[in-house]
């Protein structure tokens, strides 16, 4: 299993995919900011949200990795891993196509995922206003639960790691990729809009996602004895 390729793929997917999130998640950050007393340091707060988000992702990744391990154990290693890998790659390619053509293939996944969100959303209301570091982390954790095709693709990648810590690590790298954009998010909603609307950036991001997806599916290392 070429897990060494899985981590950078998750990282890059996070980095380029996060342009897609800016319009959506930027609003969340702006909202958090608006609803927060001036006391806590702005940057500290931001880091805390994102750590909370990381927490949710790692949880998801660990569950997925664990599930992957179960599948591998029951269905036979190679076939199962190959199938998982294929699914993950196709998902990333799909995200790339979304970015390129404004299609929305992952909608069904997001719709499914919004079920989780619906359960958690009432909780979100309790964490506002954000007046303590713990609340900031909690808000970030809930933020991670927003329905997002990109996250689900990464979770699928995490599953292909076939082990519980592996899955968590994949999601950590994914989070690392999204961190720069989302740490900066909320500086100003206006500036975000402009940045994210750059068609050239979308196109480059989309193309890179397609390439990553293709690479992520690369099966040959595991086939050669």
């Amino acid at each position: 299993m070429n897990q060494d390729l899985l981590y950078p793929a998750a990282l890059v997917a996070g980095f380029f995919g996060s342009t897609h999130c800016l319009g959506m998640c930027g609003a969340i950050v702006v909202l958090f900011e608006q609803e927060s007393p001036a006391g806590m340091q702005r940057w500290l707060r931001r880091i805390l949200y994102n750590l909370g988000r990381l927490g949710f992702y790692v949880l998801l990744g660990a569950i997925a990795g664990g599930a992957g391990a179960v599948i591998v154990a029951t269905a036979g290693a190679r076939t199962a891993l190959l199938a998982l890998r294929l699914i993950a790659g196709l998902l990333v390619i799909t995200i790339g196509l979304n970015l390129l053509f404004h299609w929305n293939f992952t909608r069904f996944l997001e719709t499914a995922g919004s079920g989780i969100w619906k359960r958690l959303a009432p909780l979100a209301r309790h964490v506002l206003p954000i007046e303590s570091p713990a609340r900031a982390v909690a808000a970030g954790f809930l933020w991670g639960a927003l329905p997002c095709g990109l996250v689900y693709s990464s979770v699928a990648m995490a599953a292909t790691s076939g082990s519980l810590p592996g899955g968590a690590l994949v999601m950590f790298f994914f989070w690392l990729g999204t961190a720069p954009a989302l740490l900066l998010a909320g500086v100003s909603a206006d500036r975000l809009n402009r940045w994210q609307a750059q068609p050239a950036f979308r196109r480059v991001a989309g193309a890179i996602m397609i390439i990553i997806g293709t690479l992520a599916m690369a099966p040959f290392r595991m086939l050669i004895h």
Partner: protein, 827 residues
């Protein structure tokens, strides 16, 4: 795509399909994705909708209220019908938005418009700057919408029924999608293939191998049924037209390889060729894609021309002016023209003095001066000066429209070399099928297991692209390049002739020369000190009464109000007589003036190339004006360049020998013929041709139509007003002869490139086909070879877009024009 609005939450376009709606403060808002819906509903349910207000109007509180001003004519029935489509009370208009430079502008556009009451939706594509706006027809008028846009700071220009651009965009997008699918799936199949090949070497589990083959099959399916569709369509078209093109062998190869591989996969026995198929389709699609891009670029010029004209004009009504729709302007209307305007009609300049940039029409980058009495052409841009213009032709009868039609016609006309290429390509395809069948049959007897593979390789490896793909691409590129230089092909056979003709026959007046008389010199005959300017102004004021050709030479020197001669009498064939104060003046030929003034003291021999006009009073002969027809500014340079590229220039003129000799001497032309009647010119052409020379005739295209027709190819120069009547194989617009030099160069380059491609094709096919038939090439090698070959020839053909322009002196200015072209195409 017109349905797309933007996500209420994040502002991204809403993808097509079932809308995702979020209920916010009791109203449904469109969302781009479930995530946005979740966030938006969360924000709403937290009672934080102020967020959206905060976002939508950061620090500004502009409000749009409808007013009506200069846009009101857009409410006229004609214009509304042209631009606005109303369905069930909902109006829709597509418009290009000028003045949109960045995404911040896009934001301003979207948000600014949302404030306007009655807008249903507005979306703008930041790349093309084209917007689709829908509004409720009963609450907002078209003019109010346009006015609102212009007050936010945009220049809206509604796009009429012409759908050419959209079609082009659609074709582009579809091809791109096909290409991307082929690329993504192709890479995948290749990787599986590498794994399988590696497995062959190092050993592989049977189950895994079968699995990989099955996956390869699945990934290849979209390549066959989506990416490769144009090839199948092309093959079918070719078959129905009974002239099979290169798509036929390509389709056969794809189909059989896919079918055989699918069978092999399902029975899990035999070779699979999914990788070859994928590669083949991808590379061929890429080549086609490039060729299509080039084709669209060639169309841009014609398209830009069509977009050039404004929709409105300022019409004078007595002393007042009104803005009217261009549709309503008719012949003999008086229009006002301001600096920066695009002249909307063909017309005569009745007052004012303009510098106009006619580069869109003529390729000539330098602005030219137009004075009272001269013609102005639709599509020219006023650089300097105000003027009034009497409309002579509008709409579809303008020169601009005629140029557009010529470009269209030229596109439909295929030169002999292209027709030949087609015929050969067609035969080539039949031959390929024959050779393939033969190879398959032969191998079947030698080694049946390899027969299929060899046949497939043979089918794939042969490449008629140099003929079927690259030759038309080369000609399209050359035609586009020429028209940008102000050289319009009417019949593209001239491209062939320009490369083999060695003699170029020129008419003199209006071809080598400007065809407009000017005062080229003055001689003081009075013996006193005289102010030259004053004399010219005096002469000019008297000559205003005359219609004579020579009188026009003085027009430039006329100073209004300086002299007001009375009792003007025009004596046809002699001159003009007038009284100014107490003095009686005569201007005209020597005999006529001498009758009044007596012969001057220093009578001299007439100069050779000039016609002379004398001015005298009752007392004395004052001056002798030389009237000449100036050489075109770049005539010397152009003739020298033509001689350098191997042409023998000949002058065939109806003018006097002395005048013709003078021009010939200045230009260094040895072979000149003067005093020829039209019949004489015709005879000269026949004579030259009977000596086996190929002749290119250059004339004004109007008076010498039969002569032009007698030559192998003909070029009409500066046809101006009479573009439609010009009977020539090509029309050179503008005042430069240099366009002809450039045309020759481009024709030569075109021939060189077509030859290179054909030589390449011969070398490639002669090498590759025997190798394939001999069984030395695996199908995937054949696919790479064929793809590379077609890529090489198409790229080579596209070099013509960047043909050299060293002799045209326009290269510096080309950039500016290209910029304007771009603006004309995009705004």
């Amino acid at each position: 795509m017109n349905q797309a609005t933007n996500c209420y939450h994040c502002g991204e376009p809403v993808p097509p399909g079932v809308p995702i709606l979020a209920r916010l403060q009791g109203a449904d808002q469109r969302m781009c994705c479930v995530g946005c819906k979740a966030v938006a509903e969360f924000i709403d349910s937290s009672g934080l909708t102020a967020f959206y207000n905060f976002r939508d109007a950061p620090g500004s509180d502009f409000k749009l209220t409808p007013t009506t001003t200069e846009w009101s004519h857009y409410d006229s029935a004609e214009l509304r019908n042209r631009y606005v489509h109303v369905d069930n009370g909902l109006a829709e208009a597509t418009m290009d938005i000028g003045g949109m430079y960045c995404t911040a502008c896009v934001w301003l556009f979207d948000n600014g418009l949302k404030q306007l009451e009655g807008i249903e939706s507005a979306s703008v594509n930041p790349a093309t700057r084209r917007a689709v706006i829908r509004w409720y027809a009963d609450s907002l008028r078209f003019s109010e919408l346009l006015d609102a846009l212009s007050r936010i700071g945009f220049k809206p220009s509604p796009v009429g029924a012409g759908r050419a651009v959209d079609e082009k965009d659609d074709e582009y997008r579809l091809s791109l999608k096909r290409l991307i699918v082929a690329a993504a799936a192709g890479m995948q199949v290749m990787m599986f293939a590498v794994a399988l090949y590696a497995g062959d070497f190092f050993g592989i589990e049977g189950g895994i191998e079968a699995f990989l083959r099955l996956i390869s099959l699945l990934v290849t399916v979209p390549i066959i049924f989506y990416s490769a569709r144009p090839f199948f369509a092309g093959a079918w078209r070719g078959l129905r037209a009974r002239s099979p093109g290169m798509d036929l062998p390509v389709s056969i190869a794809i189909t059989t390889a896919f079918a055989a591989s699918t069978y092999a996969t399902l029975v899990n026995r035999g070779d699979i060729y999914f990788d070859s198929v994928a590669m083949f389709v991808f590379f061929l699609s890429a080549t086609r894609f490039l060729e299509m891009r080039a084709r669209h670029r060639s169309d841009d010029h014609a398209l830009a021309l069509a977009r050039l004209l404004p929709d409105t004009a300022i019409r004078m009504k007595g002393s007042t002016s009104e803005t009217v729709a261009l549709d309503q302007v008719t012949a003999d209307d008086i229009l006002r023209i301001r600096p920066g305007d695009v002249i909307p009609v063909d017309g005569e300049l009745i007052s004012g003095n303009l510098f106009v940039d006619e580069s869109m029409l003529t390729g000539e980058a330098m602005p030219v001066q137009r004075e009272t009495g001269e013609m102005l052409f639709a599509g020219a841009v006023v650089r300097e000066g105000n003027a009034t213009v009497r409309v002579t032709r509008t709409g579809a009868s303008t020169s601009l429209a005629e140029i557009g039609r010529m470009l269209e016609r030229a596109k439909a006309d295929r030169p002999p070399i292209a027709l030949l290429a087609d015929r050969i390509a067609s035969r080539f395809v039949v031959a390929v099928l024959g050779v393939t069948a033969l190879a398959a049959g032969t191998w079947y007897f030698i080694e049946p297991s390899r027969a299929f593979e060899v046949a497939l390789a043979t089918l794939v490896v042969t490449c008629p692209c140099a003929l079927a793909l690259a030759t038309p691409a080369a000609i399209a590129a050359a035609t586009a390049r020429l028209s940008q230089n102000g050289f319009l092909l009417v019949r593209s056979r001239i491209l062939d002739v320009l490369t083999r003709a060695r003699t170029m026959v020129f008419d003199k007046t209006g071809t080598l020369t400007e065809g407009r008389p000017v005062v080229s010199g003055m001689q003081n005959l009075s013996g006193k000190e005289l102010d030259i300017e004053e004399l010219l102004a005096l002469a000019a004021s008297i000559e205003t009464a005359s219609e004579h050709v020579l009188a026009r030479a003085f027009a430039a020197h006329y100073v209004a109000g300086r002299y007001e001669p009375e009792e003007i009498r025009v004596i046809p064939g002699e001159g003009v007589e007038a009284t100014l104060g107490n003095d009686q003046y005569r201007i005209g030929n020597w005999r006529f003036v001498a009758e009044l003034s007596g012969a001057p003291s220093d009578s001299r021999a007439q100069k050779d190339d000039h016609t002379e006009v004398f001015l005298g009073t009752r007392e004395e002969m004052l001056a002798c004006f030389s009237i000449g027809d100036q050489l075109r500014a770049d005539a010397v340079h152009a003739i020298a360049a033509l001689k350098k590229s191997g042409f023998r220039p000949v002058i065939a003129s109806g003018d006097r020998a002395a005048a013709v000799r003078s021009v010939a001497d200045k230009l260094g032309i040895d072979d000149w013929h003067a005093g020829l009647s039209p019949a004489g010119k015709l005879e000269l052409i026949h004579d030259l041709r009977s000596r086996g020379e190929s002749i290119v005739m250059v004339g004004d295209g109007i008076n010498d139509a039969p002569v032009l027709a007698a030559a192998d190819a003909s070029i009409a120069l500066d046809a101006g007003t009479a573009l439609a009547r010009a009977s020539a194989d090509a029309v050179s617009l503008g005042r430069r002869l240099g366009t002809i030099v450039t045309a020759v160069e481009i024709a030569m380059d075109t021939r060189t490139i077509i030859r290179q491609n054909i030589i390449w094709a011969i070398v490639y096919n002669v090498t590759a086909v025997p190798l394939a038939v001999g069984g030395f090439l695996a199908p995937w090698m054949a696919a790479i070879g064929m793809s590379l070959s077609s890529f090489v020839v198409v790229m080579n053909a596209l070099r013509l877009h960047r043909a050299r322009t060293e002799n045209t002196m326009t290269s510096d200015h080309d950039h500016n024009r290209d910029e304007r072209m771009k603006q004309a195409t995009t705004t």
